[in-house]
Amino acid sequence: MAHEVELQTAGNMWKVLVKPGDQVQAGDTLFIMEVMKMEVPHEAPAAGTVSAVNVAEGEEGLEAGFVAVVID
């Protein structure tokens, strides 16, 4: 079953820690957003293989709800 990881907040993409094909465990940090000078890490909801990464480091003005990473 595919898990879509949505952006929890509007903001900028500070770090992207995974690429397609990576194996991840539940709780692994996938990417870190920046808003209000704070880091907002996003974690994998389940173990699996990263099948899509739709964000890049340095991207600005992202909207909450955007599907950033897909895990199969």
Binding site: T9, V35, M36, V40
Partner: protein
């Protein structure tokens, strides 16, 4: 009486107008970034407009009510759900003891407000319950909410089923663009004509390095008048340097070449010039804008800014309810 299950992103207790009157001691006003939405939330639940309530930023909290009360949500749409049921904005809602309010991501706007009948009753510090999170004062033990805390709430006379008329609500931009009013000065004479023209015709982008202390803007370089270069050495070496002076709340503070709007928790003084100031009537637009969104600035006279602030206060009353 309000149990914090998840704190959200720097969710804080604020009141309005905040810790007013101590800027000379270095205490910022704090208070809500969008005082228009904030005051209407209080009015909806039968509180005075300035009563203490919660400001939720970008990612909202999850809260459990330990007794029945009346609440209202205003400002940004943070997809709040009460025991799984969506909660409408701009309305007073009855909640039962044991119910859980879960707020999510801000979709339209950036800051949502939650008022509770009776108001929040954390200790008053220097005349206000407002949180100055970076300074560690006011709020809950000086800071934003933390998981496991219980927020004290007073006894209120709230009534469910009231709504704020459409015409009395702020219209939050959905096209990422904001027209923001400014007044000239106090240091507009340090900027040359080309610099003023450039400021007022540029799309200024809001940086993600912006918080309740300052809103950092990205745009072109500034140019200065002669007085910025020919000054006594105590003014400092950068054209934007001046002998330390007091900063107005809302000052567009020129830190070298980077303009930073000094907002609710901003510094009270320092050694940079402030060519423009965002007046209180336009603060709510800052509070509801997100990183990457764009400001265009428009100069209005001080008298008009004051009138707009009075008009806003007149809208934040029972007359705006239906």
């Amino acid at each position: 009486m309000l149990e914090v299950i998840k704190p959200g992103l720097e969710t804080s207790i604020q009141d309005w107008p905040g810790r007013y009157g101590y800027l000379n001691c270095g205490y910022p006003w704090s208070g809500p970034m969008d005082s228009w939405s904030f005051r209407l939330a209080n009015v909806l639940v039968g509180n005075t407009p300035g009563d203490a309530a919660l400001e939720c930023q970008f990612i909202g909290p999850t809260l459990k009510f330990q007794r029945a009360t009346v609440i209202a949500l205003t400002g940004a749409d943070m997809q709040a759900k009460l025991d799984g049921e969506p909660v409408p904005l701009w309305q007073s809602i009855a909640v039962n003891a044991g119910q859980t309010l879960a707020m999510g991501s801000a979709r339209v706007g950036a800051r949502g407000y939650l008022a509770i009948a009776g108001g929040i009753r954390n200790p008053v510090f220097f005349g206000s319950r407002a949180t100055f999170n970076k300074g560690g004062l006011g709020g809950m033990e000086g800071h934003a909410l933390k998981a496991g805390q219980v927020v004290p709430v007073g006894e209120g006379q709230g009534r469910a089923g009231l709504r704020v008329k459409e015409t009395a609500r702020p219209v939050i931009a959905t096209d990422k663009r904001w027209q923001v009013e400014v007044v000239l000065g106090p240091n507009d004479d340090w900027i040359d004509a080309a610099g003023h023209e450039r400021f007022l015709t540029t799309d200024w982008k809001l940086s993600s390095k912006s918080d309740r202390g300052g809103f950092r803007l990205e745009g072109p370089d500034w140019t200065f008048t002669e007085r910025a270069f020919h000054k006594l050495p105590e003014h400092g070496s950068d054209p934007a340097n001046i002998v330390d002076h007091g900063y107005p709340v809302g000052a567009i503070n020129l830190a070298g070449q980077t303009p930073i709007i000094l907002v609710a928790d901003g510094p009270s003084g320092g050694g940079f010039i402030n060519p423009y100031t965002v007046p209180q009537c336009a603060f709510w637009k800052l509070g509801q804008s997100k990183p990457g969104e764009v400001y265009r600035f428009q100069v209005i006279p001080v008298t008009e800014a004051q009138q707009r602030a009075r008009d806003m206060a007149a809208r934040c009353t029972h007359d705006s309810l239906e």
